[in-house]
Symmetry: D2
Subunit: 308 residues, 4 copies
Amino acid sequence: MTLPAPLTGVVPPVCTPLTPDGEVDVPSLLRLVDHLLEGGVDGLFVLGTSSEAAYLPDRQRRLIVETVVGHVAGGVPVLAGAIDMTTPRVLDHVRYVTDAGADAVVVTAPFYTRTHPAEIARHYRLVAARSPVPVLGYDLPVAVHSKLSAELVLELAADGTLAGLKDSSGDEGGFRAVVTGARAYPGFSVLTGSELVVDAALAMGADGAVPGLANVDPAGYARLYRLCREGEWALARDEQERLCALFGMVRVGDGGRMGGSSAALGAFKAALYLRGVIACPATAEPQVPLSAEEIAQVEKSLATAGLL
Amino acid sequence: MTLPAPLTGVVPPVCTPLTPDGEVDVPSLLRLVDHLLEGGVDGLFVLGTSSEAAYLPDRQRRLIVETVVGHVAGGVPVLAGAIDMTTPRVLDHVRYVTDAGADAVVVTAPFYTRTHPAEIARHYRLVAARSPVPVLGYDLPVAVHSKLSAELVLELAADGTLAGLKDSSGDEGGFRAVVTGARAYPGFSVLTGSELVVDAALAMGADGAVPGLANVDPAGYARLYRLCREGEWALARDEQERLCALFGMVRVGDGGRMGGSSAALGAFKAALYLRGVIACPATAEPQVPLSAEEIAQVEKSLATAGLL
Amino acid sequence: MTLPAPLTGVVPPVCTPLTPDGEVDVPSLLRLVDHLLEGGVDGLFVLGTSSEAAYLPDRQRRLIVETVVGHVAGGVPVLAGAIDMTTPRVLDHVRYVTDAGADAVVVTAPFYTRTHPAEIARHYRLVAARSPVPVLGYDLPVAVHSKLSAELVLELAADGTLAGLKDSSGDEGGFRAVVTGARAYPGFSVLTGSELVVDAALAMGADGAVPGLANVDPAGYARLYRLCREGEWALARDEQERLCALFGMVRVGDGGRMGGSSAALGAFKAALYLRGVIACPATAEPQVPLSAEEIAQVEKSLATAGLL
Amino acid sequence: MTLPAPLTGVVPPVCTPLTPDGEVDVPSLLRLVDHLLEGGVDGLFVLGTSSEAAYLPDRQRRLIVETVVGHVAGGVPVLAGAIDMTTPRVLDHVRYVTDAGADAVVVTAPFYTRTHPAEIARHYRLVAARSPVPVLGYDLPVAVHSKLSAELVLELAADGTLAGLKDSSGDEGGFRAVVTGARAYPGFSVLTGSELVVDAALAMGADGAVPGLANVDPAGYARLYRLCREGEWALARDEQERLCALFGMVRVGDGGRMGGSSAALGAFKAALYLRGVIACPATAEPQVPLSAEEIAQVEKSLATAGLL
């Protein structure tokens, strides 16, 4: 399908259910997609950071896009990450995810290498020139160690290189500058990657949200989105605060035994497992898994939020 | 061939000559390998950072290993980088580079993801368990944004997970701790990735060096290594200082138009081009290339160093 | 006067007008205070980062507090920064700024030294124990290179160590956690240091704002605050966006000739000079001053915003 | 006395003995100075980072300079740190430490504020213009979060702004560039702040060393310096490695309970206490002190090194 311009609403970064031996658990993935669609989401983003794309070999990445695209069958748009270090490697990912039917690709700045804004611009222009589908920028300094400035994003919006932005930078001033500046490019989609300030982002004028926690509570984020659109800001704040409390689960594993990503992904997958959506909470190697006690804390979080 | 234990001497990270349209220039690569062997190097490291591994699609990476392994035909050991974000993806690279004949693999800590020392240890243990050849750690915080501590390296040396370390961290205290501690593991190779303090590293007890600049002047580094081994420290210092001056070429492009890696790789490739070793100084996308004026400055550097 | 608990509204960090030879320009400072009070602000924060406290010798700092406290004569509360590296030095500042009449002190985490959350907590407890007036935490990782976590702030709110927080961290999730958690401590003041998301911060439940740009347009921020309190979110957004555009002035000097702080402070002071509030736009040494051309751009910014 | 040009040898950063209630323990300070002089050091550096200058109010700083200058009575040069955020504040420190008799001042780049190389240069030029004694640059990125580039240091050496450099950056390439480049300015002193690579620094051509650990074992560093000057590189390496092992004491407190500086300073002071040099191992607030068990580990370190 053609990507809506702009893309609006809740577009969760879809977790990747794995079997205990590290293969993609396709039945669980299908159940997860159904769970998200039933929750009322407006699109799906596969192969993002919350999808553990950094851990998935190419054959698994391709299988995931094929599986999800086939299952939703055009019901909602499917965006796919093309996450790799530089342009030539990203282009390989663009090729197979679009062959597999992705409706848009989501691309970070180059990483591993020490890059420069001029090279980031060049990177996006080369990718966009060869991608058969729209390209969204993915601003994730915590992973790629450079920041997409508002100036650069708006320049790439103006010339049609980028069709949108997923902003996971946590830089509220820069995000606002993109939201405000992008009003000049009506089809351009500005999406926040935050779990915690979706109400604020929508109040500023963002088009939608891509919160990892929406895997666990898609209906909550769909409700939050609707309340914001209806201008019910007080109710939206209550819903957002409920989701912020639920998000506390990402810290259950954050006691110094594992990396920050592992703690967050481990919690999301434990929650999906406890809610009966996926068959196994395993995360990919070499992430340290949550302990039984930590999973019990996730369970308590879910219970408090009325999600069990 | 079996990797020497320890591996000693000069083991340059082999640049990857590219054609103007971004393909591997195999004839130039063969000439570069001959140039390095004639310079007196003791091994070759392909698919490292100076090889632009971050920019090379898998098919190009594989071609490079096959080409170089075939050409040296066991004359010197060939180490290959298996540079990717996490364990499952690294294992895919290990598979094809060892199929192609690499004598050892060189592996960084996980990157892109926020990792933890326990996860780095797990990563190396998993890779080592499945690699048919020895695994060297690659400490490169500037690219992967975490540091291999001396404690961790020595723990992985003690249990046989790692066969050696390429240290490009610039942390002289940590490097010395590894050198000193690794005396307990006689086959373990400690190699500095520095261009600038090879004499100091060898004086401390390091086994060898992996300097990117050795592409440009392999004979200089071979001479430096020999002088250090002979205890001719004053002459070694003179040679090292000559090479430090030559290294100044990495700054000709560092005036704010491109990333730091692009400036350094652009200079090395310009020098190889000017010395008649490779046919084209192109670097991979999206790196900004050196200007004609900057290439002329590289030429002046080479002339000063007596390399033209 | 006793600090309101909580302190609400707009509390600008008061710029420090200097003479061309680097002395405090007292008449200009008095005019600036009048300009702020006429703009409708609810308090004054002297000796903060925007006050160039880092550049002011102790005798100048003391003079500023005395001047401002004397001039406002209890009309609004005066908060004073006690900005220094560690507890013993901060306590010296606390002493003289409270002797001079400050109604509260604002204190960062230790800096220069590599600190630890336990030491930050200890620091605040020691300062609070010896301060005759309430202590507010000042979260400014860009300057002090450590972050006050929401957990730590709420722990120090719970035991009465801190009376409030000025959050200039730009970490929207952490800010929200403090705002939400601090509802349990009704007198605790949560103030955002942002210029750009005051509407969002107030919508979340913050008590007030400490925006540097309020020096230039105090009436604008006072209006913004009032609109938010009245629930006029759409009008508030318009006002906030106007102020965001005005804030663009901080980038006129940000072309690589000076530090980021110098560019911002230079612009604020140029604007105050152009608006006729202060006699001289000089910033303290060793900051590079704005050029005449850059000052002309600030003038254009002011004109666009209707402030000339 | 006039500062030697260049200053050579071992110049320890003198620890500041404190009483249990945080006052300068003058008798202990005098014993410490005697201990250092008897160990054979060539100068003294007071009010540096290892002196806890960041924790000392001005009146304590002044007392320390007066005490030490009076006690050594011209026997060796006394350098004093003038550690503060920016030029105007640094100049205040320069004034009283030189009034108290310091033979040179040691000054970092501006910190707390986001600075720029042009502003760092301006800072040093202003300080040098008003200092009655020579000014040494202090490169300590871990504290001030900017790096003095070799280019900048050599520019300031060339025009006589700086009389020398204390390099605690850990950047071996940059250090070498200064050492090599400074041969053009024969009176310029290049001193390494490292404890761990003094032999390497001297082999490169450095003039001397300023190692914090020399508080604990001044005779060891004096011996190391002598061996290097005599070209006894193998014996020097043995001595250096003994000192590296002793330096391991800085990690006894580094288990997550305190900051890295606190652990190192706590260990040095515990060692001085255990060796009978100072009366009390207290560190300044808000540093977390070593536990009794950690102090016992320092004792074991000393015993192993033959220092008890």
